[in-house]
Subunit: 183 residues, 2 copies
């Protein structure tokens, strides 16, 4: 099973019909679509990206599936999440790195990603989950991952269960997964 599929499995257990979710890195819109389907007609998904190109692709994908009405596309850094989301959320998904098929020089960075994770924690309701798929292969990717891991180790174990998943038998810097479950 791929790391991204693992992230989906965890989100499925936390996000119910009528729920609210955040795609912190809209990118090509795949996670936004996944979240929009789970949230159902009564639910809402906030999708963030700093690149116009990403938001356009996400918009087109959701339009094609007739689910755009339950999605709010936001052109802002995910570290400003709580300025746009004023309700508790059941799931927040991060898929870090660069936009596939886009400019590979534009990547998420450890400072803003860490700030965004902290924002996400303030929005997460009990029983909710945050998933972070990180890519240590590109420049800055390893540092971003280490910063996230260092921070996650400090989270209170009575409030959060934080797990780290990585492949044991894959070469070439495969992606890793961090999951934060709020108890």
């Amino acid at each position: 099973m791929k790391i991204t599929e693992m992230a989906h499995l965890y989100v499925k257990t936390a996000l119910r019909e009528g729920g609210v979710a955040v795609d912190a890195t809209a990118g090509n819109g795949h996670d936004t679509l996944f979240l929009a389907r789970l949230a159902g007609p009564g639910g809402r998904v906030y999708a963030f990206d700093i690149q116009e190109e990403a938001l356009q692709r996400t918009s087109a994908l959701l339009q094609q599936e007739n689910l755009l009405d339950r999605v709010k596309l936001i052109k802002a850094g995910h570290e400003q999440m709580s300025a746009y989301v004023n309700e508790a959320v059941s799931a927040v998904m991060f898929n870090l790195g660069y936009l596939p098929g886009g400019d590979h020089r534009i990547v998420t960075g450890k400072g803003t990603t860490l700030a965004a994770l902290k924002e996400a924690l303030t929005l997460l309701q009990n029983g909710g989950v945050i998933t972070v798929v990180a890519y240590p292969g590109h420049p800055g990717g390893k540092e971003e991952q280490e910063a996230l891991l260092d921070y996650c180790k400090t989270l209170n174990s009575r409030e959060y269960r934080v797990a780290y998943t990585f492949y044991l038998n894959q070469a070439h810097h495969p992606p890793v997964l961090i999951t934060v479950h709020k108890l």
Copy 2:
């Protein structure tokens, strides 16, 4: 989410109604029951344990749920798995360590556990999964875990996707999870 719940999530995606599964460590029978429910009336679960006490508890639990007819209880070490299971399986679950509420001096050991994992790999069909929950806290537990990890790193990445999951923010030797997906 607990490590044991994560293992259940992965098994759920691999084991369908009518499928065949193995509980390599029957213990109190909780995983056997979980597998028996997923396998359905047309499915089969092979449950191994070397302790009579464990098999009796498992038998009682399955009897109580009226599911004993789809379970084969086997009093043998799981390293002899393929002598008793002569068909391909979709899921094999290991929950290592000692029998909860039993004699804590009787624990799984790295030699037999590793042999059992290798047996399980020969039985696993494409799309199937092996889950191993290991407990590094008891004597020998850490060595058992390290032996499993060392072996899993050597598995061919074109045949298997092997992932390792552990908590980042829990003290006191929490359990860890190894998942082996056959591609």
